[in-house]
Symmetry: C3
Subunit: 473 residues, 3 copies
């Protein structure tokens, strides 16, 4: 290939510079320059291989946008997972809760959440200012001012692409709560809690960590949010489950547990696949850059580890299913994927992929066991959100010590600090809501189903549905 | 960091040029060049930060492809929204209509639509030529002719990536029609109408605007198609609804309206999420470029506004739901997202995100109110396509005057011109179809359901379905 | 625009070089250089328009990742297609099979499959080594060694991005098998077969072709895998269908065939849309590069042809449906999309798009006819996987001779060689599994449904389901 580097070498090594023709009465150096300069202009510039700063800016920004769109898609995954998991009589209201929580998260994070999390973080909390928007340089660039291009480009990515990517993460946290509390939490109490969670609780956890606060300063490692996103959601859900209580009849007086199989298995499965796909965005985009070969290499590794961990979670849950539960338990297997995904999320960027299989596999195990532990504790979590997001999230955050050399003490401090803060602040919010508006639907509404009672609609109005066997007694 | 710019500064400011060693008997300028030239070759070129034209070409093309793929995905969203909204007896035929209309739009837009819309537009209409394809330069480039790279690159993006992105838009327009006319329009009449809509009606509207025709010359603003795509679909649907008439029993003789709840709420919700995700491609890709920092900044803003508008549409529809309808109406809330999305589509590129919330929120309101208005007018629109796409589309096109400084007069001219053209041409086509093949299924087919009557299939053949209460009377 | 090329031209053609001012006592060549060099540094470098090697690396890698994610999404498509196609009593187990097969494919391809397919292929098979991972250069680059950037970049794309893209392909092959054998193959026998298929059978076919083995040397053309992926899956499914046998009652003693309509049509349709979307990744990503204008042009053409072929498959299946089957057969139309997609997969990169319509249309026809042929042969393929993937795959591989100038003899050798190898090796594996663990569920389980019998779960436990009419007799 003829290119600049080769031309350069050629002119140095060829006899052109020594030849005796007329042109070469010029000094040797000038002859050389004369020979090479046109080549600089006309030949491809393969030696100048690094990515230009503006290209970097585009790569980084586009990475945020496209992966962020996939993370938004996870909301659809949670919705399907949850609406297929609940009984048909509550399948509509869980759809409303999910689209509502995403809308709320979008607005609150724009109004206040992002600023609390990222702007002028003083160690514990960012700025209490309203609204967020493009930088003034960006606005001037858009209005045609060419001179500001360099200032804009030097920030690495566009302001709002980062906001978009961060916003879809807070929505994920909120999604975790809806599943655990399904079938008995009041619609409006739930929405009020989501407002607080997305505007304050999650952003404060975020300020400590990704916002550059005290946990970040200590060296707490959580690549894409095993603790920051998933455990936060899990703790908030757990607090809610304690305040709201179990569904009527879930834990029988004779100590047995009423099984509540998913009402629509294909829809649950679809939800899991959506989440798996969206997780490529969740973890891949958390590389936060795509402007260099190193970023592209790292992002590839992240995707592979994410996929391997989910696969291992599925297989471990599948293999232990019969010994543990007496049968192949599809819901455990599906949740195993989530357990693997949550577990790898704290450190998906390691080059030894065997670790991903181990971490994800244990994530699947933790998730399967966790479901039973919650049942022993008589905590009612409809979709297994606490085992999948909280328990596997804690495991994943610890696992970074093995796989990525994180400091176990610091990781534990992070896990406990986030846990204590989120659990107690959530508990207080749920308790206040319980006092003020009441968190739990009436027994009558619970028996009738929230769909008919709260929305005046049925999820599947034309299908003949069997009455609940327990209620027939 | 050592790079070219720094080298340049270093050589200028260092003592190298003044030192007295032997080499420096050369003229000063040559000494300088001698010192800097190798650096030009060997050091990274950070000063030359702008995106190269070939990289721009790739960014622009990839943006069309990836966002276009998401817009194609919207077809699945419409299919789910519609098949979940109709009664189970018509859920199969709406699936067939949707996959069929996408197939038809793909072929007709290739055969004639694109040329009518974009090639040699004379103000009102483009070229009546068959087929579309890659440029001859592109074909030569693919066959290995390196010399044509520059000619290809200068076009900014690959010919067929643009075609792909435009094609999925016409499919969106067609999708709007199927929902409004569900449960009573004949399969083949519908497909024939879609042929005309995608081959002629939509491309002519497109020629006036994005094709560079008279509305474009006037300064009509419609970023991604509130009017061009969504209102066009809405007008075509409205004309069809008038010709085909309401479903039997929808408007009772006593003046009451029969509610027709969605038969499968989770599937409707999935459809809304698919549309929301796809809209990132719809609006984001409509930036039409990703080859500069300014484009990346603008695309980020577009995605954020799109998301905020949808969220506001959801929340407004949620809040007004009880005062307006007496209960939290899930379908209104879901449609509120569409209303918000359609409303922002005319101008999602403004930097003040508060406008997006306002525009989207009003879009949700318009959509909720519009459903009632249509019912008052005894126009039967099964999924609320006319309120969501036509009414909110009109609102969004007007709203650009507030948010993006569009001229209200020109916007109104555009809205009316497109409305009159699309409504009347569609009405004529529907009327001709009514005469020639008949648009409406027989009362018997309507009662039995189109699935069994036209396809010999049931959507859920194993489930026991309840008879329609009205029909039992 | 002022840029380097223009500056270069300007200096050559302007009078600057001839002017008599003091500076120009310098030799003319130096004057020229003096005038142009600063411009080289300060002006945008539009002449140097080719994509830098690091940008190429990022484009190529990102293309693998994002398109690969869409191919992973196809697994969800197969799951929906299959779980909607089977009777409700087997809808859960097919979900488990599908998520399980994807997990298995992920792990086996990491453990051994990729190495067998791509590493040191000796003509027939690659390396029997365990595990796969990033290159040592990549690992050093990630650990901060800047010097290795060039070595990494010279490989064109990141190692694991390629692995990810290849892995999702083997999962597609495995997905094809599950649908054909639904409703009667034992869960564990199926998973054991998938282990062999993904670890050995598919990688060996891959080694012959994409791995650079003997078929590749001969010039066998199969752009994205009509034969390598889809026919391989089809042959494996066919062998399984023969060993496992037809579902009880499918072929009645009086020679009639029991129709088995899909139990959930909207879910089947969703599956088809997911596959269609995913196929943009499947074929588009198979360009294997995005680092040049030529690649971007080719990828655009690939997406357009993929879409046109699918559309033509739908329309041909729609048009021939009534003459062939006496009614508009929705399942045939949906399968027509798959037939069109599979058919175009061997050669979607041609510039004459009319061929795509023809190839896809015939693919739809082959698929529709194939379903009837299989029924005549009393081979029970629940979802029509063999017609859609094997028959249309053969057609597509042959069609490259017409459209892309492939050698018919070589294409036939490839089709037969792959067919004989995959069919017989699969048959042997199925036969061994039949001896050792038994492939087929007991008649009792088949009647009861695998969901309840093998998983202790129902897919739709609350819905009242009608008994099978045949079983009532």
């Amino acid at each position: 290939m003829i290119n600049r580097v080769n031309l350069f070498k050629y002119c140095y090594t060829s006899n052109l510079l020594q030849s005796k023709n007329k042109m070469l009465n010029l000094p040797k150096v000038i002859r050389f320059l004369l020979l090479t300069i046109p080549g600089f202009i006309l030949l491809p510039n393969v030696a100048l291989a690094e990515v230009g700063t503006e290209s970097q800016f585009i790569f980084n920004t586009f990475s945020f946008l496209i992966w962020g769109a996939l993370v938004m898609w996870m909301c659809a995954g949670f919705t399907m997972l949850e609406s297929g998991s609940v009984r048909t009589r509550n399948a509509s209201v869980i759809c409303l809760k999910n689209i509502g929580l995403y809308a709320i998260a979008s607005i609150t994070f724009f109004l206040i959440g992002y600023n609390l999390m990222y702007i002028d973080v003083n160690g514990f909390i960012g700025s209490f200012t309203l609204f967020y928007g493009s930088s003034s340089d960006e606005i001037l660039l858009l209005s045609g001012s060419d001179e500001l291009g360099e200032a804009v480009v030097s920030s690495g990515y566009s302001t709002m692409s980062d906001w978009f990517f961060q916003m879809v993460f807070v929505a994920t946290t909120a999604s975790i709560v809806s599943g655990a509390l399904a079938e008995r939490v009041k619609l409006w109490a739930f929405f009020l809690f989501i407002c607080v969670l997305t505007a304050f609780i999650y952003p404060i956890v975020g300020a400590w960590t990704w916002g550059g606060g005290w946990l970040s300063d200590m060296g707490f490692q959580d690549f894409a949010g095993s603790t920051i996103v998933h455990s936060t959601g899990g703790w908030a859900a757990l607090a809610g489950a304690l305040v709201v209580g179990a569904r009527t009849g879930k834990f029988r007086q004779d100590g047995t547990v009423k099984t509540t199989p998913p009402s629509n298995v294909p829809v649950v499965t679809l939800g899991i696949f959506i989440l798996w796909l969206g997780w490529f965005g969740f973890n891949g985009g958390s590389q936060l850059a795509l402007g260099s070969a190193a970023d592209a290499v790292a992002m590839s590794i992240v995707l592979v580890n994410t996929n391997l961990a989910a696969a291992a979670g599925v297989l471990v849950a599948l293999i232990i299913s019969r010994p543990l539960f007496g049968r192949v338990d599809l819901l455990s297997v599906l949740n195993g994927a989530i357990g693997g995904l949550v577990a790898i999320t704290a450190g998906p960027d390691m080059v030894a992929h065997g670790w991903a299989i181990l971490i994800g596999g244990i994530g699947g195990l933790v998730c399967s066991l966790g479901i039973r532990i919650l049942e022993k504790l008589k905590i009612d979590d409809v979709v297994g959100a606490v085992p999948a997001h909280l328990f596997a999230g804690i495991w994943g955050t610890i696992a970074t010590c093995l796989a990525s050399g994180a400091d176990i003490l610091i990781q534990l401090i992070g896990i406990f600090a986030v846990g204590i803060f989120v659990f107690f602040s959530s508990y207080i919010v749920w308790a206040i809501l319980e006092k003020v508006v009441g968190c739990r639907v009436s027994p009558n509404v619970e028996e009738l189903g929230q769909d008919v009672a709260e929305l005046g609609i049925e999820a599947y109005p034309e299908f003949v549905v069997m009455p609940d066997r327990d209620e027939l007694k």
